[in-house]
Subunit: 194 residues, 2 copies
């Protein structure tokens, strides 16, 4: 009962974060969506930042699950990285990727002091970091790029605004858009080797 209610809250928060972002999402909207009173929500989560953190933990754990699934299947490191980015883009395409403005200071502070969030974030970073160094070792990802840069670039696909712009244009299917974004991410805009 209790856990199910919290899950329902987090699901609503996740959707609203994806739709409007942290600043424009209001707690009143969340409770209206879940169908409970605001005071009840504050018995489960102590602040709006705590709500966002719970949604982020959830999506990070979904990402860790997908990572484990791909690791079990096996294959070349670069192919696993591409599959991970594809999964991320699919989540964003489905409107299920919570977007946190990187600029909000109160939220950044709250996330930085959130042990569970930081644990999941660091674990995912470590796991992907392993694939990145593997892919650089076998020559499929540029060795001249700092692994840090590669990791950030992959993470940034979760909030790539180009996806939304292409979707708005309406000229391409969801899968076509994802393929195009994967191409620009891994192969770049330029043709051939430069």
């Amino acid at each position: 009962m209790l856990q199910a209610r919290e899950d329902a809250i987090v699901a609503s928060v996740n959707r609203l974060l994806a739709e409007k972002g942290f600043d424009l999402m209001t707690v009143d909207e969340v409770v209206a969506d879940v169908g409970i009173a605001k005071a009840s929500l504050y018995k489960h989560f102590t602040s709006k930042e705590e709500l966002a953190a719970a949604a982020m933990v959830k999506v990070l754990e979904r990402s860790l699950d997908e990572h484990a699934r791909l690791e079990a299947i096996g294959g070349a490191a670069v192919q696993k990285l591409k599959a991970m980015v594809r999964w991320t883009l699919q989540v964003q395409m489905a409107g299920e990727m919570p977007s946190l403005p990187a600029q909000n200071s109160s939220l950044r502070a709250a996330l930085g002091n959130h042990p569970v969030y930081m644990d999941r974030l660091l674990r995912l970073s470590d796991e992907l970091g392993g694939w990145i160094t593997d892919a650089q070792s076998d020559g499929s990802v540029r060795s001249s790029l700092p692994p840090e840069l590669v990791l950030y670039t992959l993470f940034a696909r979760a909030c790539d605004p180009v996806l939304g712009l292409l979707k708005l244009g309406g000229q391409y299917s969801d899968e076509q858009i994802i393929d195009l974004l994967l191409t620009t991410c891994f192969d770049g805009l330029a043709a051939g080797a430069s």
Copy 2:
């Protein structure tokens, strides 16, 4: 006098938009930064959205100036595109690139109904579109990519979060970061041809 004051207002808005974004920027901060009363500001600009639009028009006109400068110098289309992205990244690096959350509906509506903003945006899109088709014709940019996608991808460099993350790390100089981002944008993460 009057024009100088409006310029001062727009300059403050531009800096605050780059620093905090539209939602977190308050009109009180703007007037405190400029050193005038809030009612005075509202004699010049009728709303907060109007303020943001003025800052966006300003930066679009700076972009058009840079485009004209590069066009006058000449060179290969893809090199001009790279130079334009480099300029964009330098502006962002200097903390002078206003960032507008793509999700804010009131702001999007205000910008869409702002004739001057739309004119500058479409003019810049047209100019860059010309370079893009040129670069695709001479084989330096992938012809398989829709020009629309290339344009959006270039525009998105203005708010690429990877720049801020790398800068935060403190391991690379500003110029190194810009070079790295140009590489990932045009050449991709993968090595060689895939």
